[in-house]
Symmetry: C2
Subunit: 284 residues, 2 copies
């Protein structure tokens, strides 16, 4: 494969040589945010949604981004043009920057990387996956921070249970998976997703605004609600809609992906194919 | 000032050129641990305690340190010899390493840095400081992880209240400050410190084992207990014993550092001056 480049503070650099100072607060104190979007057929998917969330995360964490929306898009454009990866993912990371005292915010570093889409994409769609649950609440859940300490730490726990992912809950209320939102379909065929203490996923938002002949709403959801659900699925930028057929020791429905999940996946795909933000950047 | 060096994976390098790959899980996912100890008069203070905790943190986080205790001490020795900073602090950081998929653990990177002691040391000892409280529970509290997202984020909140630090509490039970443990002295002159969900600070441990003519014990402590306390102080490697004379809107005792706090500070200083781990490393 030819060299893949990235951009650090507007400077183009081969990913193999891309580094940040050991004094960066991202590394010193786990202080940073990011966002990630797909490129399909040379077109960023839901770019404006992702950039808006990136700016909101930065603002919440008091990290000043020194590039305008247009400048940021120019840099993304530049990277896409040089890397020539028509189907891929782009990640924007903004760190706390070099800190003189190891604690006070410095001048944030912006890192833009591009990488192949994860192979995960092709797994589990036909059969559905198993997840396990774990008590945990992400700090500052509305911010897409780099804090995945618990998520990385739980990987062996997930594997031990022959599961593919973990669902967090707190005080008996479920919230989200580390990198995905969750939806349940009740026996009454209502589609529900947790309303608070979660990241507002871009695909989650798209699902909530789908025009479908059943209600999709945000509400508090208990662990028992999940165990009783007729269908469960997760949503994320890399996974779109992924059916869940087992949670802890409970089989979901008849153990195969459900009818409503399937309908939502189809409706979502139509929205993605329209891709409203595609007009803003095209590779020349 | 002459060049300050650091050591990355056993390689000596000027701190100004020290960097890690942007693919490191420390930066990508906030996944890493560290420890920090003082050098006084060219002698590491409580070195074995700090290295033991460093190894325990690494083990808890499943990060494999490829150096033995002796090799680690050799590297520290080498750094002290070249930097020639007789009174300073040394920080060991172990990160998740370069991750192929941005999530799975790589080969951990060990970074050893040396820096001047923080000026904070000289402030507040005579008069005591003010702290504020905030609801938060550190994830994996027994591990000295790099997760200081909340602590860094709260800095403006602390300044707005003209305070110098913040005390975390959860479900009405206090735990710790971001970089210090807390002790209270009750009206009955019992010295207490929270027993669970805190980092086992090295100075905290030294205080708990002081030979003094009053009881010092670990116990659950409520916010009301703290507001009612006769004396409060915090302990940390950089601060030793720092008196607290105001918490939120409550004055502590008569608003000046207390008698028992003073006695504990004096007893601790005798222990530090003995410095049991000093024999293991001396700069040549």
């Amino acid at each position: 494969m030819s060299t893949i480049n990235c951009i650090i503070n507007s400077e183009l650099i081969p990913i193999s040589k891309a580094s940040v100072s050991v004094s960066d607060l991202g590394l010193q104190r786990g202080y940073g945010i990011f966002d990630y979007f797909k490129i399909l057929d040379n077109t960023p998917v839901f770019l404006d949604d992702h950039l808006n969330r990136f700016y909101r995360s930065a603002e919440s964490m008091r990290l000043k981004l020194k590039y305008s929306d247009a400048e940021l898009k120019d840099q993304i454009h530049e990277l896409m043009n040089i890397n020539k990866m028509p189907d891929s993912g782009i990640k924007l990371t903004l760190t706390g920057g070099d800190s003189a005292d190891g604690f006070s915010l410095g001048s944030p570093n912006l890192i833009i990387t591009q990488s192949p889409l994860p192979s995960y994409q092709s797994k589990g769609y036909g059969t559905g996956i198993k997840i396990v649950t774990h008590q945990h609440q992400r700090q500052m859940p509305a911010v897409k921070s780099i804090d995945y300490l618990m998520a990385v730490w739980l990987q062996p726990f997930i594997k031990q249970h022959n599961a593919q992912d973990v669902l967090y809950h707190n005080n008996n209320l479920i919230t989200e998976c580390p990198r995905a939102n969750i939806f349940i379909v009740t026996k009454e065929e209502k589609v529900l997703t947790p309303s608070i203490n979660v990241l507002n996923g871009i695909i989650r938002g798209k699902v909530l605004s789908l025009e479908v002949p059943f209600s999709i709403t945000e509400v508090a959801i208990t662990l028992d609600n999940v165990y009783d659900a007729k269908e469960i699925f997760m949503t994320s930028t890399t996974k779109n809609i992924l059916p869940i057929v087992q949670i802890d020791n409970h089989q979901v429905g008849d153990g195969t992906p459900g009818r409503i999940t399937q309908k939502i996946a189809e409706s979502l795909l139509m929205v993605i194919n329209k891709n409203p933000s595609s007009s803003s950047i095209m590779v020349s």
